[in-house]
Symmetry: C2
Subunit: 616 residues, 2 copies
């Protein structure tokens, strides 16, 4: 089941689906994995991806954020049966958590699958730990106590892209953006991270039972993150196929992955995913709880839900979507909507409330939920069960009533020591997006916002990765900390491998557009490097610096397939005969000789309009 | 060469490339062409596309704006050798323009192609007319004289989508948007159109030698328009193939098409395009002028350019991109840019200026250009030759110096009686987009803005239709009147048939997102109709109401291929067992019985939290 890299040199990525039982490995085109340690912490190794440029560029390699885990490391031996290395293991060991007797797997956890229908458990070793009362467990608790954890040091280094200074002239870059009163620093220190977490403005989803994790920070004053959703197939042919969905998503830039599996085998598949995931894994425990009662909403109970929380927390899930904001009193607010309740979790809870005419058990037992999640440091992702499913329903009473409830719950969760982020919409026309962000910041005490798009129109099924990327880029700019991707199949069907990649790349570009607009100090370095490559016809550099080098190269080759064209000083748009970039380079070379001329066009005119005049 | 429709009933669109010598015809899936006449003008027939809904919807057919021309009319007989019908012919005849002796085709107009290399002229009849001095010729001149033309009546009816009232409750809809101080009316009257044109805030590109035109209005207070670019292939196999590029672009929603052909045969190909185009055609005459001097910029002259303007104006080109804002004094401002000058026209003119160390002949002869363009009512599209080609160069001194010059030229063109729009960027990060719009409105007296994107990041070649759709939707919202599409191949290669469709649909959704956010009275009707179809599982209606019904249906069929699934009350995401939309419908039905409950959740609580209580 292993697919070891055969060479340490970059090689073209295998973008076709891997052989059965295998996952995609090998570096992304034109780059290699590097590790860098924060000053004073040689034991902490933070991964980056380094893109070497053509010698003619006379530029150092560009280091970029890397979500892809050991799978893109040429030196890593990948075996999904063994799971990934555990960078957090020594940090967690030092915190003195007690080993706990695991809850044990019950038949209903896997939908009572047996025999050939049962996916075997992941053989990777996993011992379960649990925090005790009075002990510091969560990143929030450490931060409030003034203690900087290894995870905080790790993410600080990661956000800085490994540089002591993110970029020369960082001050100018910050001034060049508009962050809408966020507090993005020029340089991210571990103390800044701690402070942001202590204020509740950022989270590091990091279950103490997920030692394989490469920590990620989610918050308005950090790089905008992207989540991808995966789910098991109706017929699961092998656990490796399910792991591959994760590997494929993070290869292209997913910062976190939500496992939305339903049906049989979800416990064991989740175990395979967690033991092989370097990224935070999120789930919606309600989905599994509903499976355990055969899909009959009326049979859902607090006891079943509670047991499911513990089951998943022990496995190492890093954040749970909890739809505790869908209260009985909110349900009638949706009655006149064009598209009612479109969140699956939201409609389950609304249905449960209506069934028995009773308050949500998630709301009523919220304190207990907090106690369980704190003991493993599972972060809250407070679900927006009443998010609008159409432009018509955006920013309505139901949506905002729930958001206000999420604000209440945020304060409770913080008081209990938990990390919290808040889920957001959905379908929202452009002029109503900012109101969502402003209200979320205000009602939820600046807890990180995590939105699905939003889609800015309803009329483009098949293109909803784009209708939503527009909203995602905007709300990311306004302050959303993480964007949940949307694929081209949204509203229509299940995404395939290509759809997942398209969704992730689309959301990476939206997140980057937001980082640029916010004035993140290091964001523009990649744009500038790529644009320089473009202007000087370094085609390979242009491909390699792009979010999807394989596609960029393939598109170029469709028109100009020969190898020689990759060094051609022209492109297919104008052809060799006449090229605006080439002419423009000539102009630049001419003008470069005219020192002092560049910004003095008036003077130039007075001097007689001659280009060739002596320098002053 | 004809492909007559064989039936008047909607049939699945032929989305594969047509047979050689043919163009794509037939209705778009699930819709039919209808014509509607403005009150009191039975002789004016304005086309729309009507989408019939399932009887269970109990809704009238939805009428949508239709750019596709007679090609989607089942009753139209299409023969590209004969050209299209000429709806404007009687209007133009009544204005008393003089027939003029055409300039005549010169060998260099077709790049001196001969024999087998020469594309034969289009046999469709075309007599050339020209306006005289002192005569009212342009839509601007008519508007200033207080005269409402047939073109104005036509576009008013078209913008209203054929309704006397665009929508019930239009006032609320307007209030629901934010148009940034635009003046979008609830209902578009011919007088409103005249007034907007007279103020210079809108144009109807409509050369008096283009009688085949179905008029289109471009302005901030109208629906946001989309332009698609086409260009001839290096090896032109047939004129019909070139016409097909036009037909394919307008089928999916291009409001105008720019023919950016270079090389041989461009005169004759342009003739085939114009005689078969129901949409305004734009060109960059500088490209052909450069061809005539063998691509040697130094040989360009005012005389050659002037002759090319007349050549193209006589053919019926509706708008010309004129890069008269690239002045000699601006060129040094680009010297320190990351990507110099990326506009082809801009670099030609900059090179010409530097070559002879002289002022641009376009700038120096601008008055004469106006006189020529006025005589045929060719609209100006004042080119942004110094638009930024990278995030680094956005909103810089070069770009804004040119924009200010375009403002000067706008006033000259208006004084000469011409219609004017202004081209804009380019590559601009989100936080710098609005400054472009505000400065353009101020400097150019509210003349319509026509932007290329802008792209909001440089790092996603292969996905630049998306990086730019983000910027396009935003700048469209802020006030841009027309968006020039970008295809996935931007920066990499020449777009193929699929790329063109993807580019057009992407820009249609961006333009629509802008219309929604501006609060255009009729925009939301389509979103609401589609969302209602989605919520009640009318799958066919959902496909047919979408911008690309073929793709929406194909994506659905990938997961749920059987015909029965198109009437299933569930979708592939949750499957039949558990469906949030279905549960939500049950909730809605329950709640609907609770009259007076919907927005009274507090009261509901006080009443004991019971869902089933008597109505007040």
């Amino acid at each position: 089941m292993t697919t070891p890299s055969t060479t340490g040199n970059p090689r073209p990525a295998n973008t076709a689906a891997p052989a059965p039982g295998h996952v995609t490995t090998g570096p992304i085109r034109g780059s290699r994995k590097v590790y860098s340690s924060p000053a004073g912490h040689p034991e902490i190794r933070v991964p980056f991806r380094e893109i070497a440029l053509d010698p003619s560029a006379n530029e150092p390699p560009l280091r970029v954020y890397d979500t892809s885990g050991p799978y893109t490391d040429s030196d890593a031996a990948i075996d999904v049966r063994s799971g990934l290395p555990k960078p957090r293991a020594p940090w967690l060991a030092a915190r003195g958590f007690n080993a706990t007797t695991p809850r044990g797997v019950k038949p209903e956890d896997n939908g009572n699958a047996t025999g050939d229908h049962l996916v075997s458990p992941c053989p990777a070793p996993h011992s379960v730990i649990k925090g005790a009362d009075g002990q510091l467990v969560t990143q929030y608790e450490f931060a409030r106590a003034g203690i900087i954890t290894e995870e905080m040091i790790y993410v600080a280094h990661r956000e800085n892209l490994g540089r002591l200074k993110a970029a020369e002239g960082a001050t100018d870059r910050l001034k060049d953006g508009n962050s809408f009163d966020a507090a993005i620093p020029e340089f991210v220190t571990p103390e800044f991270v701690r402070d942001e977490i202590a204020r509740g403005r950022a989270i590091i989803p990091a279950n103490i039972n997920h030692p394989e994790l490469e920590p990620v920070i989610i918050g308005r004053n950090f790089l905008v993150k992207v989540n991808a959703n995966i789910g098991n197939s109706a017929v699961t042919s092998s656990a490796a196929d399910e792991v591959e969905k994760l590997v494929w998503s993070i290869r292209w830039g997913a910062d976190t992955v939500m496992d939305l599996s339903t049906g049989r085998n979800i416990h064991n598949i989740r175990d395979w995913i967690l033991r092989n995931s370097p990224t935070p894994i999120g789930t919606v425990p309600l989905y599994q709880a509903l499976e355990k009662v055969g899909g009959d909403v009326s049979k859902l109970s607090w006891e079943i839900f509670r047991d499911t929380l513990i089951e998943q927390a022990e496995q190492g899930v890093d954040y749970f979507t909890i739809h505790a904001g869908v209260r009985l009193q909110h349900v009638p607010l949706t009655a006149n909507r064009v598209t009612g309740i479109v969140s699956r979790g939201g409609s389950i809870m609304a249905s449960w409330c209506l069934n028995g005419h009773r308050e949500s058990f998630l709301y009523e037992h919220f304190d207990e939920i907090c106690d369980i999640m704190r003991a493993y440091d599972v972060s809250f992702s407070l679900g927006d069960g009443l998010r609008p499913g159409s432009i018509a329903d955006a920013n309505d009473a139901a949506q905002f009533a729930e958001l206000e409830t999420l604000g209440e719950l945020t304060k409770i969760a913080w008081a209990k020591g938990c990390q919290v982020m808040i889920e957001g919409p959905g379908h929202v026309p452009m002029h109503k997006i900012k109101e969502n962000m402003d209200k979320q910041l205000k009602d939820c005490g600046e807890a990180p916002f995590y939105t699905l798009g939003p889609l800015t129109t309803d009329i483009a099924p098949g293109y909803d990765h784009i209708t939503s990327a527009i909203g995602a880029a905007m709300i990311g700019w306004f302050g959303t900390a993480m964007l949940c991707y949307v694929t081209p199949k949204e509203h229509l069907g299940l995404p395939n491998r290509d759809d997942v990649k398209t969704g992730v790349i689309t959301y990476r570009l939206a997140a980057h557009a937001a980082d640029l607009a916010k004035g993140h100090p290091a964001a523009k370095l990649r744009d500038d490097a790529l644009s320089r490559a473009r202007f000087t016809f370094r085609w390979e550099d242009q491909f390699n610096l792009s979010l999807d080098p394989d596609t960029a190269c393939a598109y170029h080759d469709e028109t100009m397939p020969r190898e020689a064209h990759k060094t051609a000083h022209f492109c297919s748009m104008c052809g060799p005969k006449f090229c605006s970039m080439r002419i423009s380079q000539d102009i630049k070379e001419d003008a470069a000789r005219l020192a002092g001329m560049e910004e003095k066009s008036e003077e130039f005119r007075k001097a007689g309009g001659k280009v060739y005049v002596p320098a002053e």
